[in-house]
């Protein structure tokens, strides 16, 4: 009894960690396992093992065009949000101008506002302006809420940059343009990359705002939602798990590159 207690107190952190990770990963494991389910109409009950779903992920009608739309929207929204967000971050971090504090607060607003409100008001705006909701209204909406996240990530990176590095570059005959290209940008790049990844995953994931502004355009989250009641095909699990795995690979690759940069030339 005493021994057991001692073992528990010694390994308490490990037990905590194990329970925590289990809690986090059970849904993902569930998704993975059910992607091999030989389902009939609905993928809610386990029938038997099959590789069929992995061999033909595009078999259910519209599932791959929805995925394609999500990826296209994600890439466009990421590009727009990263470009604008990086510029805003530099402006906020480097220049003292009238209303800087106000802009800083505004940047946080989209993160704090309920998506439901954002989605509904965006739709109102688009309709008032005579835009037909569809692919491009989704892109615009996604750029809008992704910008904040890019700004915050990039600004943190700029703030941690030693201003003496840029002074040293200027001291070593680099003009403003060269200093930015050769010193500032490479050093801020990890922050920009982080912001871009965050933007893509937020855009790819978004349901609420997209649902308001999609018109007849179908994205992957919309597909999953609309098919949930009528029976979601296991191919959705295949695609979902693949996206998760891809994200994992990107994170691991990023860590390896980061470590290499630090340790050796």
């Amino acid at each position: 009894m005493k021994k057991a207690l001692r073992w528990i107190s010694k390994n308490l952190i490990k037990i905590y960690a194990f329970l925590g990770f289990t809690y986090l990963f059970i849904p993902i494991i569930y998704t993975f396992v059910f992607s091999f389910n030989k389902y009939v109409r609905s993928n809610l009950v386990w029938k038997s093992f099959t590789l069929e779903n992995w061999k033909n992920p595009c078999k259910p009608i519209d599932i791959c065009s929805a995925l394609g739309n999500s990826i296209k929207i994600g890439l466009l929204a990421t590009a727009g949000a990263t470009l604008l967000g990086t510029l805003i971050a530099f402006a906020l971090a480097r220049y003292a101008f009238k209303g800087r504090g106000f802009v800083n607060t505004l940047i946080f607003l989209p993160m704090a506002t309920p998506e439901l409100v954002l989605g509904a008001s965006l739709l109102t705006m688009f309709l008032n302006l005579g835009f037909n909701p569809g692919f491009w209204t989704i892109v615009i909406a996604h750029v809008m809420f992704c910008i904040s996240f890019v700004v915050v990530t990039v600004k943190a990176r700029i703030a941690s940059l030693d201003p003496r590095l840029e002074q040293a570059a200027m001291d070593l005959y680099a003009n403003e343009h060269e200093t930015f290209r050769r010193v500032t940008l490479p050093l801020v790049a990890p922050g920009i990359a982080g912001g871009a990844l965050l933007a893509f995953s937020l855009s790819f994931d978004d349901f609420i705002i997209t649902n308001f502004n999609s018109g007849t355009t179908m994205t992957f989250p919309l597909y999953v939602y609309t098919h949930e009641k009528g029976g979601l095909p296991a191919q959705a699990n295949v695609i979902g798990f693949s996206m998760f795995f891809l994200a994992l690979l990107i994170v691991i690759a990023g860590q390896i590159v980061g470590r290499k940069r630090k340790v050796s030339a």
Partner: protein
């Protein structure tokens, strides 16, 4: 490129430079000429304006008024990247994303120099670190980073090399070694070095000329020996080494010397070593110039009697005494342990004497403690 970054040569001249931040004057009407090829030190405590002065020369700070020349070229308004000036920054500011080789090559590449590789390898040999060319800055020790920062600057052969507390982050032993090396490298490359430091020993070891700065102005400028042997102000006397300053009045003259009355005892001070403006004066004597003698033994030169030993600290090569004088002041005395005389002990009655040529005279209205309270180890 035909801009000043390569063509300007000659002495550095600062003409009436001032820099204000709001109401605070960091640098106050400072004028200075630094001859080409010299090793010049700006020495002063934290916040005396020495780093601001350096940054104005580098172009990283704009003077509120005044002008800066290198030879005949006015560089006051010039962008930092157009100046014939390179800086070794306090924390080195090596580019973390570039290799050591590319760090050093940075300036050469920006100027479109042809033989980058040859020049970089040569300077890596000079600082004795050729094997580190392909490493990244974070993989180097502090001392190595310091040398690379130096190499990155001197490879450009600027008219002027600025060093901002370059040894501040190194430990004492490494600092001593780098002091000697820096001096050697300066002779080797023949560039003008302007060195900013709060460490008086560092300035004295390396510089040909030292300007002691205090509150945005230069207190005194001269060779290390000049400043030490004949300080003009209490600040210089206390900031550079230690001094005994004894209050007195000039009571008469004897040829080339003043007769100075120190609490009733008369001593002699050479007129050309007095910076007093009227009869009120501080007589200054460095602690190692004093000799202590027991009552009744003969002694020569300036003599002060009636002291008694208040404290004794034996530190091997010398012994430091605190001697209390009849007027209540404690004088500091450093005696070399080389004369076979038994050390004095606490409470002993003694006389103090010194050669008259070692006395210096300061303005009697000065604050005798100026420059002694500042902590020279404190970083800016």
């Amino acid at each position: 490129m035909s801009d000043a970054s390569t063509s300007a040569k000659g002495d550095l001249k600062l003409n009436n430079i001032s820099k204000s931040y709001g109401d605070f004057k960091a640098v106050d009407d400072l004028s200075l000429i630094i001859p080409e090829g010299s090793f010049f030190a700006l020495l002063g405590p934290s916040g005396c304006g020495k780093t601001t002065t350096l940054r104005m020369i580098a172009g990283l700070e704009e003077p509120t008024s005044g002008s800066i020349f290198v030879g005949q070229t006015d560089i006051t308004e010039m962008k930092p990247y157009k100046r014939p000036v390179n800086t070794v920054f306090q924390n080195y500011a090596l580019f973390p994303h570039l290799t050591i080789f590319e760090n050093i090559a940075f300036g050469l590449r920006r100027r479109g120099i042809n033989d980058v590789e040859g020049a970089v390898n040569k300077v890596l040999d000079l600082v004795e670190l050729p094997h580190l060319a392909q490493r990244k800055p974070t993989q180097l020790s502090g001392g190595q980073q310091q040398r690379i920062a130096l190499a990155r600057a001197i490879v450009n052969r600027p008219a002027l090399l600025l060093l901002d507390e370059p040894l501040g982050a190194l430990d004492l032993k490494l600092r001593r070694q780098m002091q000697i090396e820096l001096k050697w490298i300066q002779k080797e490359v023949g560039l003008t070095f302007v060195h900013v430091t709060h460490d008086q020993e560092e300035a004295m070891t390396m510089a040909d000329t030292i300007a002691v700065m205090n509150e945005g102005q230069i207190e005194q400028m001269g060779s290390p020996a000049d400043l030490y042997d004949n300080p003009k102000t209490a600040f210089v006397a206390n900031f550079l080494g230690q001094s005994n300053l004894i209050k007195g009045t000039i009571s008469g003259n004897d040829g080339d010397s003043h007769i100075v009355d120190l609490f009733g005892q008369k001593i002699s001070l050479q007129k050309n070593r007095s910076h007093a403006v009227d009869n009120s004066i501080y007589a200054g004597i460095r602690p190692e110039k004093f000799r202590i003698s027991r009552l009744g033994t003969s002694t020569s030169g300036n003599i002060l009697t009636g002291g008694h030993i208040e404290d004794v600290s034996y530190i091997g090569v010398s012994t430091q005494y605190q001697v209390e004088m009849p007027w209540g002041q404690e004088l500091m005395v450093f005696e070399q342990n080389d004369d076979g005389v038994a050390p004095f002990s606490k409470g002993e009655e003694v006389n103090i004497s010194w050669e008259p040529i070692f006395t210096f005279g300061l303005h009697g209205d000065e604050d005798a403690n100026a420059g002694s309270e500042v902590n020279p180890d404190e970083d800016e």
